[in-house]
Symmetry: C2
Subunit: 134 residues, 2 copies
DNA sequence: ACGTAAAATGTTATATTATAACATTACAAT
DNA sequence: ATTGTAATGTTATAATATAACATTTTACGT
């Protein structure tokens, strides 16, 4: 029983690689243009790789930006739920972890008689660096 | 000094009206198709109305679904930040209010030396009705 | 009331993001 | 070896959103 990340196919590895080496989230078509030299020619090949990577938790989608980011947490438990700090100035993204968010949201949902399954949280503001400059 | 909602233009009123009378979030092109009889002919007219309505807080966008929902809260303070409970079964949406979320997120951001400005939160699961059925 | 600046409109074209459909290939599990 | 599942390659198209520009309406200070 190997780690899911060890079983990646060529296309999946190619896409994951470019995301892991990016300092910021990337859009699907940016990924496509950047890796056409590696044999990926169509959007669908990128989207399919992304779908798989998201499914196994190696990549998360940032919904409000239509962009994708590699997860830096070994064995990230955020296969479904995600929480990000997004800098409005430099577009850098930090992922929040810890399941205190999970328990907090469960309670909030409970108050509304709602059965919590997962969440997406995007917090916008200024990152450490940009705070200083502004 | 009238309420912003009293100053709406014809297109803005038309778009807001259809959203307020919908039991669920609507997509931009669904809105377009539904109101072509009222003189709105192009996507841009819908998107411009939506932009304005979002700006004044009468409409919120649900990022993960590319859809739009009218805010039911009189004088909603969520001009920028939004928090939703989204039912995965019936697609119904409930907006969470109260600034306890604001203070909680501010603290979470603070821990990462991040200056909180606003947020989008989408909680997925089963609403009251669908919980019973499943 | 008039002039004017800002906002909204109308319209055509196009950019961006994502999926459908279908034929083929790789590959792991019996 | 066989077979079922997943992944791939490819073309076409759907769905979502904005650019550019000419025109009209509106708000509002004088």
């Amino acid at each position: 029983m190997a780690l899911a990340s060890e079983n990646l196919t060529k296309n999946q590895k190619t896409v994951l690689d470019i995301l892991e080496n990016s300092s910021e989230p990337l859009k699907a078509y940016t990924i496509l243009f950047d890796i056409q030299k590696k044999g990926i020619k169509s959007p669908l090949q990128v989207y399919r790789a992304l779908d798989k990577l998201i499914e196994i938790g190696k990549v998360h989608k940032i919904e409000s930006r239509n962009s994708y980011v590699a997860c830096k947490h070994e064995g990230c438990n955020a296969k479904t739920s995600t929480s990000f700090l997004i800098c409005e100035n430099c577009d850098s993204v930090t992922e929040l972890t810890g399941n205190n968010l999970f328990s907090y949201f469960s309670k909030q949902a409970e108050k509304n008689n709602f059965n919590y399954k997962k969440h997406n949280l995007e917090i916008f503001g200024l990152c450490k660096n940009c705070k200083l400059k502004n």
